[in-house]
Symmetry: C2
């Protein structure tokens, strides 16, 4: 392992962090970085660096990293580009282990001086074995370390969880973060690669594969330079952890945007799907599916087959789930005789008791619902359960009734929920079910079905990739 | 116009409502209906009917509709099926104008007695000219009348707006309602057709086409019986109002669910797409797109062409929007020289200034953003604007900066927003922009692009349908 790779662990779990370019001025990114660090719950030492200030946000401020007497693990740099080479030399001399370089204005600008600066600081970082996130990044957040090393303090509103997001776009990282806030999805890391001085997808894979906090690796990909390295690196790890990727840049005009954005030319979407799959990565085509699929892959047990049981409190959402499930290649299986008998005993003759099962008549009867879920959980034809229930005043206790049994079974087979109510009614109960690993929940039948399909498609990709290696 | 059709207006705007089967017992639907009515803001007279009670929820209760001395416009019936024929006769005698029949157990059950009862009450209703919503429905909500005639009081949390939702599924109506609560979408009516005694899609179209509160008609469709009537009725109105439909039941097993649910056999999805379009109805394939498309159709001016300008605060979400926009058949146009010059003047050379426009460098400069939006609004090549901005602490004022100009222009051309922030930060500002008609906003770039595509696809369908008539 190279020095740079050894230092990656310290980059994401530093004991002390310097903010070079810390500021009291809300017009400066160094102000927002200080806010992120000081309010994000970081337990280590925070060292503002700015020759013009004595104190920032109540913390003693130093003119340079050298003036600080102790050890510094991580430096977050938010200074104009021309000042960065000197700062990197100082970081090298100070023995700093990692850098987050927020500054823009390197190879992504038209001026060739940008590319020269890029090369200059890259040489310093490589020589010193310092991994650098950026330049031209919003930063990164290492949630289990309580470290918000970004210019967006609001990332600290997210909870720690099992998804590592590695992204070529700051905007997309913010979008996915805000979506996750609304749906209570947790991350281990969110990393904005920016213009990838010396930390690109391969380096992140090498680090994250051994990171016990990261269960799933989610990627947002734009450019094509380094695509081969990305695929090779993913293959090298032999599908040790689920990976899921959203790639944009299929539109003709998008190519221009992509070129400018990360200094590379965006390739065609179609070519990537196949390459991702070969590398053991599940490709998706939508920010929602990236988040939803990553959530399912992080929280559900390994899916053993395509057989689905659809249990729905109301026929309409159940039908939408049937349509999507079938179109996405899953099987709405026939139950065994034994299962069918148990369901028949639990439901009145009026109800549809084959797959999909109409649980409407059992709304008021949590024992009947428990029996049905148990019966399909034990059925060998069934590999996963889609459980749909729309709130109505009369079924307000339906989720409560199911909770003990679902918690006991803890997804012996994946349980994908679509339990939906007005704001504030089932939120806590669903959070409790998700936190205890009893199910994963989604806001629409279609998204629930797509998340289940992600589990199945990943399973197929993984088996093929394993066969390839 | 038939007596039944004349009575439709009173059904949705009654002065007095009787709840036949009103109850104090939360285990009865008549309890929840009373809660909906009394807490939903209804300004008319509420008359609980139950021979076993003197008073329910503080209201004097009558043994039958006859005992009530005044006029009754609407009766909501929540009694066992076998009691319904007698109740209908009483309603006829009392001169009641409309009925919402929540009771289940008619033709959807296996027992032929159900079909007989269905026929019996149908004959009474038709003879009396009483339009009946149901049976086997959660009810209906007439938002501009403050009337929640459903068993779900929480529907009253929704705001009044321009979308009329006519649905064959109670579960789907609840789902769409809860989704709309999260995204502040407003409805004129939500109507659960249930088993359609004598009010089906055609009757609803006839009524809604002349309902000034309903700007857009959104449909959720399951069965195929009456499909020809649906299409014929839609065609008869000659695309007077935008219509958008989500049809489920393409899965093989879904057919069984559909058959049981509404007493009809679900047909294949594919056949419907073409038939809907011919009838001037935009078909969609997802509950999100139904809601998102209806919202855009209700709030945006008529889209004049496929030319889109994509203005994005961050490259990644802009690229996702480009991909979706292009895949959905819209054109990411070249600007005129004049527009291009104005944009070049407003942005530094570093930025991408062609379509899509990277507005990142103008984050802090609301005057520059205003100039860019104005320039593309005036460009004849541009028929709509996609405006994307992810919050970061440093751009917190970006929406505020844009607001005055967007309000002044009031969507001279449709403005589809994807302004996304953590909960509570931009919510009020976005609500203000939407309420004042300055834009419609969506939570992801992909959904924003799909909503814009719905405007365009509806425009194409409408032009063709107009050509046909």
């Amino acid at each position: 392992m190279t020095k740079k790779m050894r230092n990656m662990a310290r980059l994401f779990n530093p004991g002390s962090v310097a903010v070079i370019g810390a500021s009291k001025d809300p017009g400066k990114l160094g102000f927002h970085v200080m806010k992120s660090l000081t309010r994000g719950g970081f337990g280590g030492k925070i060292i503002p660096v700015n020759p013009g200030s004595m104190e920032i946000m109540g913390l003693k401020t130093f003119a340079s990293v050298h003036e600080y007497p102790g050890k510094i693990d991580l430096a977050i740099v938010a200074l104009p580009a021309r000042m960065v080479p000197r700062v990197f030399l100082e970081c090298e001399k100070k023995g700093i282990k990692g850098i987050v370089l927020i500054t823009a204005g390197f190879k992504e600008i038209d001026d060739p001086a940008g590319a020269e600066l890029h090369k200059e600081i890259q040489d310093i970082a490589e020589r010193a074995g310092i991994p650098v996130i950026g330049p031209n990044t919003f930063g990164m957040i290492s949630f289990h370390a309580g470290l918000n090393a970004s210019f967006t303090p609001e990332f600290s509103l997210l909870r720690a969880g099992g998804i590592a997001l590695v992204s070529q776009s700051g905007g997309m990282s913010h979008l996915l973060g805000f979506m996750a806030m609304n749906e209570d999805v947790g991350f281990s890391k969110i990393v904005g690669l920016g213009n990838r001085l010396n930390v690109d997808f391969p380096e992140m894979f090498d680090y994250l594969m051994d990171d016990p906090d990261s269960k799933v690796i989610a990627l947002y990909v734009e450019g094509i330079d380094g695509a081969r390295d990305l695929m090779t690196a993913a293959k090298r790890h032999g599908v040790r952890k689920p990976m899921i990727a959203y790639k944009t840049g299929s539109a003709d005009v998008g190519d221009v945007a992509s070129k400018s954005h990360t200094g590379s030319l965006a390739g065609k979407h179609e070519i990537y799907g196949g390459a991702f799959k070969q590398a053991g990565i599940l490709p998706v085509d939508n920010a929602e599916t990236l988040l939803d699929g990553a959530k399912a892959l992080a929280a559900c047990p390994f899916l053993q087959g395509p057989g689905v049981a659809i249990l729905s409190g109301q026929a309409g959402p159940g039908m939408a789930a049937c349509d999507f499930t079938e179109n996405l290649g899953l099987d709405i299986v026939s139950f065994t005789e034994k299962t069918q008998k148990k369901i028949n005993d639990a439901l009145p003759p009026l109800a549809l008791r084959t797959n999909p099962v109409d649980m409407g008549p059992a709304w008021y009867d949590s024992e009947a619902i428990r029996k049905i879920v148990h019966a399909v959980m034990e059925d060998d034809n069934v590999h996963s359960i889609l459980l749909l229930m729309m709130f109505a005043s009369a079924n307000v206790d339906a989720v409560k009734g199911l909770t003990p049994a679902l918690k006991t079974w803890k997804q012996r087979k994946p349980v994908i929920g679509c339990l939906v109510a007005p704001p504030g009614i089932w939120d806590e109960q669903i959070k409790d079910l998700e936190t205890s690993g009893a199910l994963v929940n989604y806001p629409t039948p279609e998204r629930a079905a797509a998340a289940l399909a992600a589990l199945w498609h990943y399973r197929v990709i993984r088996d093929r990739a394993k066969g390839d290696t």
